[in-house]
């Protein structure tokens, strides 16, 4: 068996496999964000779970036949992994799956199922290798777990680096190399012929060369590629997005309806190149030769309103993208424009292939371009810096309507963010936010509620004198003035609305008959909602409205989620009569994932439990409860911290990488520590004591963090990237360290008493982890970050109780 073949290779194998598994998972999330939509991230997590849990179950069921063959089976698994990365990915891209068609085509459910089956094998095989590793080194599972975690941590960090210079479609090929190395190492001592297996992964690399992501035909870029004379003029990619610049004379993107634009007098729109982010939302780059005359059309959109109220303002544009809002500011006589953009692909294109076309827009004297996430950038600015802060329309009209971003965290639209914007405005300054409108109304109402509550929290005595909402048929622009709006300003707003045929949703002193005059709705919804929000009827509106319009906060940063369970019956009724038009895809995907994960968990975990039953039955129940609780709790904390650290680290992808790497690495160290304390044949007492200590410390640290995070994050907001990453790591260390203890302590206990249960415990834990990931998001959406952390702490206590009450008794 294993003992004589050195441990070194085994540790390296487990480390490499751990790294490949997590890197593959993150890369697949990026791929599916491009191919379909963002919400598929959840699906990948549940596919990973399927693979993990299935391997644990299979190993548990085959335990007698495996005995003595662990080494070759591990090597076979590693070989399979190295071959499967590219082939499974290629197969997935050949499947004609389309989210939107699920509603109309039953066959799509088959494709979705096939997608699961095709994407799961690499996860199954990675998990297979690690579980066999545990069986090979039964006396030191903690140390092995450490190497697994170390590998995962390194993999998470490495894949983000990799995505800077490789397109996500090529990552599976890149990961084939470490996977092949893992195979080669795992076959050491099995005979030289085994090394011939390396031909397999090498052959798959040939397949990977021209691999492209199959883009959904319903994505903006797919559609644009069919426009007349369409050609892709440039591409850029980063861990944040794949950016495609496409030129066609038929591209004409404006920030909303052009209300009454006299095209014959003022001319056609300038030539444009569309910048497609992940093949979806588009931002236009306008041909610019230094003359601002062709941009007169930008005075015919709702977002032009603030320029009527300000004289030569210093403007901050958040989400500058292709630069339309920047051109609008210049065309409206801005003194200076600060253009903030989070995606590094944008400056790369503006410095390179789009430089002349864009007229070097971002290199002008009166424009300062900043590559940063908007909120983080603002936190570092002196108070009172800007006369106008413009939050641009960041997503596309279609994506907004489909609700595909329903569960995307956004710290730009929370009450805390609005208070920050207020501080950064000059005394007479204005915040202007434009959103695409949906019917029935929701976005603009939620945004208005956010502004009202932010005003109150900021201590403005009478918010009703600071706010404006005007709308066209497809956009609304909301203004929040730091000072009460003056009579001349109000007259100017009314004049602008009348000239452009725009509707007043709210203006200080609005009369009912002023609302709903140009684009007529069934009722003056916006007037009714905004006046309710400013009166004592606010709570009633929140409760009675069909959509979730309560403001987003830093604790629940889900501005784009509008689905409300209270109205579920109304939506269902509409759906039953053939009307599925209120589907929020992001939310549906999450619910589907939770259900699917629960079902798969039942089949893969509980089913074998019932099947084996008998004498081992009760012990199995306790094992399932212990490792299930740990899996859920670990993921709850991990997801909550990822969500929370986005605020500190600015970019979601960095938050994912740093928090994953930190959690995995430090838990690995914790499990190493546990292993040193519990060297072979553990006494139940010592396991119980160390788990109790760990859980007590996890709870103490977790509760402390809940209390001090806002203050710490504010303190660190001006720090450099490196400083904030370092701070994140320091904060994660003690918590993750102790989170690494309970799992190996319990596993060692089982390993000593009934080794056959080890793979099963591993599978249960895998299943629970992934259910936990989806469930944590659901809890965060409804109850907030604090609730997720609180639940995790409760689960840790439950686990400790199970261990001391049941597992540690023999």
């Amino acid at each position: 068996m294993s003992a004589e073949t050195g441990r070194g290779p085994l540790h390296a194998v487990v480390l490499l496999v751990g790294a490949v598994g997590i890197a593959y998972e993150i890369a697949l999330m990026r791929v599916l964000s491009v191919a379909q939509w963002h919400h598929f991230a959840y699906m990948i997590i549940s596919i990973a779970m399927l693979g993990f849990a299935a391997s644990g179950t299979v190993l548990a069921m085959l335990r007698r036949r495996i005995e003595g063959r662990e080494r070759p089976l591990l090597a076979l698994g590693a070989l399979g992994l190295s071959v499967s990365l590219v082939t499974c990915f290629a197969a997935s891209q050949a499947l004609p799956f389309e989210t939107f068609r699920l509603v109309t085509e039953r066959a799509q459910f088959g494709y979705l199922f096939a997608l699961y089956l095709v994407l799961a094998p690499p996860f199954f095989l990675a998990s297979w290798c690690i579980a066999l590793g545990f069986l090979l080194e039964p006396a030191r599972v903690g140390r092995l777990y450490f190497f697994n975690m170390l590998g995962s941590g390194l993999g998470a960090a490495a894949v983000v680096g990799l995505l800077f210079w490789l397109r996500p479609a090529l990552v599976p090929a890149a990961l084939t190399v470490p996977a092949a190395l893992a195979f080669s190492l795992s076959a050491v001592g099995l005979g030289r012929r085994w090394q011939l297996g390396l031909v397999g992964p090498a052959a798959t690399l040939l397949l990977a060369g021209g691999q492209e992501i199959r883009l959904s035909e319903y994505k903006g870029l797919a559609y644009a590629q069919r426009l007349p004379e369409a050609r892709i003029v440039a591409r850029a990619h980063s861990p944040l997005s794949e950016l495609t610049a496409l030129a066609s004379p038929a591209i004409r993107e404006t920030p909303g309806q052009l209300s009454g634009y006299p095209m014959t007098e003022l001319g056609r729109l300038p030539q444009q190149i569309g910048l497609y982010f992940d093949g979806g939302s588009v931002s236009a780059v306008n041909r610019f030769d230094g003359s601002l005359a062709p941009f007169a059309f930008l005075d015919y959109v709702t977002g032009a309103l603030p320029y009527r109220l300000l004289e030569r303002p210093a403007v901050l544009v958040v989400g500058a993208g292709g630069g339309t809002e920047v051109l609008s500011a210049l065309a409206h006589g801005a003194r200076h424009v600060t253009a903030v953009e989070a995606d590094p692909g944008v400056p790369a294109l503006f410095r390179g292939p789009l430089r002349e076309f864009s007229g070097r827009l971002y290199e002008r004297e009166d424009v300062t371009f900043i590559l940063a996430e908007g909120r983080r950038f603002m936190e570092g600015q002196p108070d009172g810096s800007f006369d106008l802060i413009q939050l641009a329309l960041l997503d596309s009209f279609t994506a907004a309507g489909a609700g595909v971003h329903a569960l995307a965290e956004s710290y730009l639209y929370t009450t805390e963010a609005v208070q920050l914007y207020l501080r950064k405005l000059a005394p007479q300054g204005i915040l202007s936010v434009t959103r695409w409108l949906k019917m029935p109304p929701r976005d603009a109402i939620k945004l208005f509620a956010t502004l009202v509550e932010a005003c109150e929290q900021a201590g403005l005595p009478d918010p009703s004198r600071h706010l404006v909402l005007i709308r066209s048929w497809n956009t609304a622009t909301l203004l929040l003035s730091r000072s009460p709006l003056s009579q001349p300003q109000l007259a100017e707003i009314r004049r602008f609305a009348a000239e452009r045929g725009l509707d007043l949703g709210y203006i200080p002193g609005i009369r009912r008959e002023e609302a709903n005059r140009h684009t007529i709705l069934e009722r003056p919804f916006y007037y009714e909602a905004t006046t309710a929000l400013l009166s004592g009827r606010r709570e009633t509106l929140y409760r009675a409205y069909a959509f979730h319009v309560r403001p987003a906060t830093d604790d629940r940063p889900y501005f784009f989620r509008f689905f409300s369970w209270r109205s579920a019956s109304r939506f269902l009724e509409a759906a039953r009569s053939g009307w599925l038009n209120f589907v929020e895809w992001g939310y549906v995907a999450l619910i589907a994932t939770v259900l699917q994960a629960a079902l798969a968990g039942f089949l893969l975990v509980l089913f074998p439990l019932l099947l084996f039953g008998g004498r081992a039955g009760r012990r199995r129940g306790a094992v399932a409860a212990y490792f299930g609780a740990l899996g859920l709790a670990f993921m709850f904390l991990e997801i909550a911290f990822i969500q929370r650290f986005m605020l500190l680290l600015a970019y979601p992808v960095y938050a994912v990488a740093v928090v994953l790497a930190g959690f995995l690495l430090f838990s690995g160290v914790g499990s190493w520590f546990a292993d040193r304390r519990l060297t072979s044949t553990v006494s139940a007492g010592s396991a119980r004591r160390i788990v109790a200590l760990a859980v007590a410390l996890i709870a103490a640290i977790g509760l402390t963090y809940l209390a001090v995070f806002p203050a710490i994050f504010r303190l660190a907001s001006g720090w450099t990237d490196a400083g904030r990453v370092a701070l994140s790591m320091i904060l994660l260390l003690p918590l993750a360290f102790w989170m690494g203890v309970p799992f190996p302590a319990g596993l060692q206990l089982i390993s000593d008493r009934n080794r056959a249960l080890v793979p099963w415990a591993w599978g249960v834990n895998g299943a629970a982890s992934v259910l936990g990931a989806a469930l944590a998001t659901l809890v965060a959406v409804h109850l907030g970050f604090r609730a997720v952390v609180g639940l995790a702490l409760v689960l840790y206590v439950v686990a400790a109780v199970i261990l001391s009450a049941s597992l540690s008794r023999s």
């Binding site: 389309e98 939107f100 068609r101 509603v103 109309t104 085509e105 035909e217 319903y218 994505k219 797919a222 559609y223 069919r226 426009l227 007349p228 038929a250 004409r252 993107e253 404006t254 920030p255 909303g256 309806q257 052009l258 009454g260 095209m263 014959t264 009209f397 279609t398 994506a399 309507g401 489909a402 949906k438 019917m439 029935p440 929701r442 048929w473 497809n474 045929g501 140009h518 684009t519 007529i520 709705l521 069934e522 919804f525 009714e528 309710a532 009633t540 509106l541 009675a544 409205y545 069909a546 959509f547 109304r570 509409a574 009569s577 053939g578 009307w579 599925l580 038009n581 209120f582 589907v583």
Partner: protein
């Protein structure tokens, strides 16, 4: 009962309605020699889908399950819906769903609209047998065929080449001689045949192309379905008043009140 969507306050439909009454008579005579109707009449006997189509019109368009107030009542529109063979416009593998009241994919990221929406939009346009209609976004050609059953001329522009070609072939085959399909960019409309008595824009855009508004006859209407793929969330109804003023209305094709009654 008043159907407020068909006769929205402030946007009188009396002119369109009375015009239609007159046209009804004209139509009765004209239809004897009208190619599309003749073509349809020839098919009638050997059309195995006739019953399904009747059922669709009866149960989903003339009395939709989501509320009697949204019933399409215009006889001409209902007749057109009963006549146009929708199964000829859907991809072969979705044939069995051709007469279900739902949108279906036709490839290239496009859909053939839900029959109810087609009927509803056609009714909203308020067109008669002498009218000329411009359509931007031909897609499968189904909407154009429905309009062709009612009006004198349909001009339709499709930007996706393969769609334009197949729609043209299909419409020709079905004998719709009064539809002209053009491949290309519909943003600037089709100046040659302007002004139009109605315009329908099925291609999503960030704004209504100003040239289309210019090519709309005073007193005429434009309809734009708005929403992501497979979901019409709202219908924009634009009316160019006699004085050139633009009046817009955002309509929900289904009863859904966001405020609950307790409020």
């Amino acid at each position: 009962m008043t159907r407020h969507l068909q006769s929205p306050a402030g946007m009188p439909r009396t002119s369109a309605v009375s015009r239609r009454a007159v046209h009804g008579l004209v139509l009765a005579i004209a239809s004897l020699s009208w190619p599309p109707i003749q073509a349809a009449a020839q098919q009638e006997d050997d059309d195995p889908h006739r019953e399904a189509r009747e059922r669709l019109v009866r149960d989903h368009i003339a009395s939709p399950p989501f509320g009697a107030q949204y019933a399409v009542g215009d006889e001409e529109v209902l007749r057109a819906m009963r006549t146009v063979p929708r199964h000829r416009f859907v991809p072969p593998d979705l044939l069995s769903q051709a007469y279900e009241d739902r949108p279906l994919p036709i490839g290239h990221g496009q859909t053939i609209s839900q029959p109810y929406i087609v009927a509803f939009m056609t009714e909203l346009l308020g067109v008669g047998p002498e009218d000329r209609v411009l359509e931007i976004g031909t897609g499968s050609g189904y909407q154009a065929a429905v309009l062709a059953e009612i009006v004198a001329q349909v001009f339709t522009i499709e930007i996706v080449e393969p769609l334009a070609r197949s729609a043209r072939a299909r419409l020709e085959e079905l004998g719709y001689a009064n539809v002209v399909v053009r491949e290309g960019d519909g943003y600037y409309g089709w100046q040659e045949h302007a002004p139009y008595d109605a315009i329908i824009v099925t291609a999503a855009a960030s704004h209504v192309p100003p040239p289309l508004l210019e090519q709309l006859r005073a007193g005429a209407r434009m309809v734009i379905p708005v929403g992501p793929p497979f979901q019409v969330q709202t219908l924009m109804l634009i009316e160019k008043r006699a004085d050139g003023r633009i009046e817009q209305r955002s309509l929900m094709p289904v009863r859904f009140v966001p405020f609950t009654r307790e409020e």
